[in-house]
Every structure is written in structure tokens, then in C-alpha cells.
Symmetry: C2
Subunit: 245 residues, 2 copies
Amino acid sequence: LSAKPTLDVCLSPALLHLYDTRNAVVVIIDVFRATSTIAAALHNGAARVVPVASVEDCIAKGACTDNSITAGERDGKVAAGLQYGNSPLEYPAEFVRGKTLVLTTTNGTRLLHMVKDAAEIVTGSFVNLSAVCDFLVEQGKRVVLGCAAWKDRFNLEDTLFAGAVAHRVADHFSVTDDATRAARTLHAAAEGRPYIECLRDSSHYQRLSRYGLEHDMEHCTTPDIHPVLPILRGEDLVPYTATTV
Amino acid sequence: LSAKPTLDVCLSPALLHLYDTRNAVVVIIDVFRATSTIAAALHNGAARVVPVASVEDCIAKGACTDNSITAGERDGKVAAGLQYGNSPLEYPAEFVRGKTLVLTTTNGTRLLHMVKDAAEIVTGSFVNLSAVCDFLVEQGKRVVLGCAAWKDRFNLEDTLFAGAVAHRVADHFSVTDDATRAARTLHAAAEGRPYIECLRDSSHYQRLSRYGLEHDMEHCTTPDIHPVLPILRGEDLVPYTATTV
């Protein structure tokens, strides 16, 4: 009888050093809105998404990439020098199909670039919940669910998603850390209500609703509307299929 | 109409830099077991508790302090060179009255020494829940509830206590951060059950129960059995009274 692999939840990038990500599957979680937008773009046919840290990197990468879109926001607006924003609704199939989306985001990209030596790095949000869970079970490796948080501060939406994943895959992993238990309790407390209802008093919901982004956030918390698994290959996030391994 | 002061929960010492503790009341929380033991000792008549970082400091401080007890554990046992352990049950009135308890603990002491420029530093656990809440309301200043955690890892018991405090004083403070909301949700999920029941699957409960400390932990989670407020004066924790201000 072999022991089940562990599943941990890292609540903030500032705590990532406490977790061993070597040879683990790491899920980058930035529900509002980077990892929701990445799933939307790939599900709608983008060839790849290139996450970059800064607006400058985004402009430079876009300039040397054919058929690319540069995108990113700062303070709720399209950043100066970029073409599009960070909303999953901006990337319908007729616009994004076959293109490379070069995307800069504050929290999600930073966390993604902090993870070293993982077996696989994928991105998750409610929009691709089942795709994430299926992959974790299929791989059968140790898992670290990494919440992008907000400037290193704990946030509810990423933790709630981590709790949803931990709940779904519970039979396949062992849990040893309290952060995972807390995420599952938060998820259980949300049971029976749409996720967005549990997030209306969260910091991020309040911040983004000042920019009129309520509909965006509802989209980001709707389970499985973008059933695709973004997986890191080199510097690109591409849709996972058996043949990309 | 003046705005209410804010109340924040800091889930780990590794996140303390994100919070502004200047002129705030900071509550150090290390339920299992430092801040439970500190309250027990002072409630039972100890003159003061001196928290120190290392076993060496504890021995040195004890050697130059009249009528002192040196105490601290490492790996569940009294540390070599010290006299007593880290259990609140080791410090009944007939033993501890009038003495100075020099106590070394790993997580709680470290966090206490990290906080700079606070208006007041006090310690809290379930055993002195009401005393903590009464003080926060009386002071009417910004509050940071600092969870000692476990080697920087989030833990359930400290967060549950922070949620209990946040719940009790909710009418007097404004909440802007998601960590406080999560702590309150964890506390709400525990409603109607003894706190210890909600903590039996926590990492720390499991660790300490291997040392046979179930009864200790039940004591540490019993509300208000040690109604005293330990407050930092210089390097000493002493019982707060109106005249100590």
C-alpha cells in the first residue's frame, strides 16, 4: 500500500519558500483575473499565452512576436503601451483564435516565475476547475496549490478555489497542513451558493466593482465554462493534451 | 462621525511586514501553548513572565533573576538546562505566586520580538478571550491580531482564536482585509461546538497529542479560565490593570 501524495495550499507568494515544489505539480491560482483570462483565451483558441512580469516586457515581447496581442492592466485600466485588458470577456474566439496573447499581471505572473523545479506548472480558476482536478488525479504527484494573493496578502477568492480543488480530489491525496484544512472549511461554508455570492464582501471584489467589473467576476467564478488546462512549456502557457507531455 | 479603527489578522510572522503595527494594539497569539501558559502563570499570581528567544537566553536570564523559574520545551520535552515545560497546568498558584517565569518558546516569542513601535503588545488565547476583547474595545486603537503560526506556516488554532476575537469586537472595528473575513468564517464554522472539537484534525493537535498533551490542549481552548491580560512592559509581560498604564 503506497502512501498518497500530499496536497498543500500555499496562501501567499510570501509563504512559498515553506513548500517543496520540486517534482510537484504546482497550480497557479489568480481567480481575479489572470488565470481566468488565460483559460478563456486558450479555450477560445489562442495558440499560447505568454505571461510576463512588466509592461515593458510585454511591449518588447509583443513587438517581436507575429500575430500577437499585448495585454495587461494597472489600477483597473489597460496599461499605457498595451492593447487590451485583463478581462476574460475580451478574448472571444473570433478575436483570439491562433494568436499569441502576451499578458502581464501583477500577482499571478510573479508567483508563476517564483516556482522552481516543479514537475509541471499549470494555472487554475473556477472556469477550469474540473480540468485542473482531472490533471492532478491523472498525474498522481505531490501538489502545491499556489494562491497568487494580492501583493502577498491572503485573499478569499484564490483560497476558496484552492478549497474547491482540495475538496474534489480529497480521495487521492493526503493533507498534512492546516492551510488546506482551512481552505476546505471556507469552501464548505460556501456550499449551496454560487461562489460569487461568497465573495461579494472580499477585498478584491470590492476593488474591482469600483471599476464596474461585477460581470467579469461572475464569469471568473462560474465553474467549467472554459474547460482547458493551461500548462507551462518553456515560457508559454499552452492547452494541455496527452500529446503535449 | 469618526471612522472606526481597523482590525487586521496577520496569519503568519512571515506576513507581518504587510501590516502597519505602529501605534496599533498588537495581540500575540500562540494558543498551543505559549500564550495560554503566560495567561495561566500571571492569573495564578506570577509577578511577571519574561519571554526569551533561546534556551541559552533563558538560562542566563534565570541565573541573574531572584525567585525565577526557567521554562521551555523543544520537541515536546523540557529543554536541556531548563527546569519546567510549556504547559499551563505546570503553573498552579501555590507554585508560581510571586515568581518570575522566564519562558522560551519558538513561535510566540519570535513574533513578539518582531513587532516594533506598537502602542501596546498583549498576548491572547482562548483562556483569556474576554480580557483581550475588553482591552481592544477600551483602547479604541487600530488592532493587529498576530498569529504565531508554526515555523511561519499558517495554523488553525491561532486563526480560530483571531476569528473569535474579530467576531466578539466586530461592532467596534472596521475590517478591510480578507484574512480577517476568513478567520471569522472559520470561527462561524466552529459555532456550537467546543473549540477543541474543531481542532482535533489540526497539525498542532496531532503533533502534541503524540506527546500525550490532549488535556493540555483542552485547557488551552477553554474560554476565560485565566481572565487576565498579559501586557508588555519593557521586556516583561505583566497583568494589565488600569494603573499599569
